[in-house]
Amino acid sequence: MRALALAAALLAVPALAHHVELLPQLEFVPPAPGSYVLYHIKPAPDGTVLGVDGRAAPLARYTHGSITLLGFIYTTCSDPDGCPLAYRVFDALKEAIGARAELHGKVRFVTLSFDPARDTPEVMSRYAGSRAVDKGNGLRWYFLSTRSARELTPLVEGFGQDVRVTRNGRELSHVLKVFLIDRGGDVREIYSSQFLHPEVVLNDIQTLLLEDR
């Protein structure tokens, strides 16, 4: 029932309903928050990243202290089942969280680029647009890049994010994965495209928050 109530709450937000319409239909009712366990899969890896202002900082700054939803992207990604799907889910979640005061200040999003050669802080800033600005909806969304493949590789490997070069060596492909990280910096869920749905993710965020009570 809680899941159904949550779904109703999600759809009750007019702007969110627009995003939900764009997302693949969820073919199951996800289990209710707190009715299942999210395991401590592994610590999120650390390394140096760049903010949109070009300043270097440890990734740990963005994976500790709040519940974090982290996804890798390329700004040139166009596969509808890939980065754009993650983007739509993040957008929908941002609105859902904005509509729920009890979640304000407890969740952050991190979008980290795979492509240090093209996705400079300036490019990431343009890619982020107004998303990187906290409009008082209780959620910060950080758009990060790295200086080099050398700095990116331990992060990609540490998360277990697949990426590979495809035909003619000029394309990168990856399996869509989004990582839910708890306040202590542990990866607690890894979403593939089938589970990357706002309703599921919001339940998981609620499940982590219930652990603190």
């Binding site: 289990p31 366990v37 166009s78 890939g82 980065c83 697949d162 000029r170 979403y191």
Partner: protein
């Protein structure tokens, strides 16, 4: 070896794989890299035989690329240094490692297949399954994102059939144990597991415990009491919560589970070993999951003992191996409610596992079931045989005699690719 990604290539385009696609037709849908073309290797997990070679279980690499000079030959083997009834194995979701285990104990061996796909390297042994879960005989290794779900067959307490699943991180950290249900019709047995993430469903099947599978088959089938100790159920689980939802009555030890890979389908198929029946597990219009017997494999009175099955990528065909008569059968699954056998061929004196390439044109078959269930004398052939399938006939292309090569009993197979791993490492 560290991977160095080609992140500085001039023009990048992101093409994300939708995980509804599966691996070469029978692996976890979370496995990210598919061999859509010609595979280079078949990894064979082989049971050691006392007095043969070093007598230990080993992971054997067979070159199966027809363009290779060593086509049809063994190019490598890695011994575990012990004999533990090697049985099944599975890839991690990133396909960089194979987890493989034995049924006579609770250890799991982890092989790196990414650094050198021809020469897997034993990099880790997971030894805490028995202590942490109480389960014995890890059987199925099923990739979830960042995790491995391991289905066991038995338990350390009485070595019977009450067992469960253990969840590990890819790094080998034990996360949780989930006993098979014993309430609401559950019999506590386990065998295979397979997921349909789109439906949030995990499906499990049921076999027998150590006390049965480690016993000589001829002796076991004469023991009426012991023959009662086989699973007769499948269980529908909530995949996300890892909680049992419904127990399905599927008598006769339902073994391997194959979901149709067609995204429009909502069914899985299995073969019950003792009754020689095909069962369909399907979601009805109300969303309920039900199991129904839909076909017969050979003559059940002769106990052909269906073992491994392999579904085509379009969900329209199913290979079924029957151990006792050494036959490989093909069923037309165009109507999964009524499978029709359209082909059969004796492919060995005893056959167990069957794997096919993504395009279905190549089929690989191995011989061994269990050390104490394999046949004796001249019938105890131990091999991998590679076949070409043109839709009408299986034509044998190569064979590796595992006894002559002093490798042991050939059991589970997984496909390997040089190009796939080279891409993963960057260029």
């Amino acid at each position: 070896m560290r991977r160095s990604y080609c992140v500085a290539v001039a023009a990048l385009a992101c093409a994300a794989y939708n995980t509804v696609r599966a691996d070469e037709t029978c692996n976890s849908p979370y496995i990210s890299k598919l061999i859509k073309g010609q595979e280079d290797y078949v990894y064979v997990w082989a049971l050691g035989v006392e007095g043969l070679g070093d007598g230990s279980d080993k992971l054997v690499t067979v070159d199966v690329n027809p363009k290779s000079k060593s086509y049809g030959k063994v190019v490598n083997s890695v011994s575990t240094g012990t004999r533990a009834e090697a049985h099944h194995m599975g890839f991690t979701d990133d396909r960089r490692h194979i987890w493989a285990g034995g049924l006579s104990e609770s250890r799991i061996w982890v092989f790196d297949i990414a650094s050198d796909p021809a020469k897997p390297k034993l990099v880790r042994t997971v030894s805490d399954l028995g202590d942490k879960s109480g389960f014995l005989g890890p059987h199925t290794y099923y990739a979830l994102p960042g995790r491995m779900l391991v289905q066991a067959l038995s338990n350390t307490k009485d070595k019977g059939g009450k067992t469960g699943m253990a969840l590990y991180s890819n790094e080998g950290k034990f996360l949780d144990a989930k006993p098979m249900p014993t309430a609401n019709g559950g019999d506590g047995y386990g065998y295979d597991l397979a997921v349909n993430p789109k439906k949030n469903v995990l499906l499990t099947s049921s076999f027998a415990g150590y006390a049965n599978y480690m016993r000589p088959l001829g002796e076991l089938i004469k023991d009426a009491e012991a023959m009662k100790n086989f699973g007769n159920t499948m269980v529908v689980w909530d995949l996300k919560a890892l909680k049992p939802q419904k127990v399905l009555a599927v008598p006769g030890a339902p073994l391997e589970i194959r979901w149709s890979l067609n995204p429009k389908d909502n069914w899985a198929i299995t073969a019950a070993a003792l009754t020689s029946k095909l069962w369909l597990v399907k979601q009805d219009a109300k969303g309920e999951w039900n199991a129904r017997e839909v076909g017969t494999i050979g003559d059940p009175a002769k106990i052909p003992l269906p073992v491994d099955i392999s579904i085509t990528r379009d969900g329209k065909g199913l290979w079924v191996n029957t151990f006792m008569d050494g036959k490989t059968r093909y069923f037309d699954l165009s109507n999964p409610e009524a499978p029709k056998q359209t082909y059969e061929k004796a492919t060995g004196k005893q056959v167990n596992m069957i794997s096919q390439s993504w395009d279905g044109k190549r089929v690989y078959i191995t011989s061994s079931l269990l050390a104490n269930w394999d046949k004796g004398g001249a019938d105890n052939e131990q091999f991998i045989r590679g076949f070409a399938w043109n839709g009408k006939e299986l034509v044998q292309k190569f064979e590796v005699d595992f006894t002559r090569e002093k490798l042991g009993r050939a059991h589970h197979m997984k496909l390997g690719s040089k190009a796939l791993q080279a891409q993963a490492k960057g260029g």
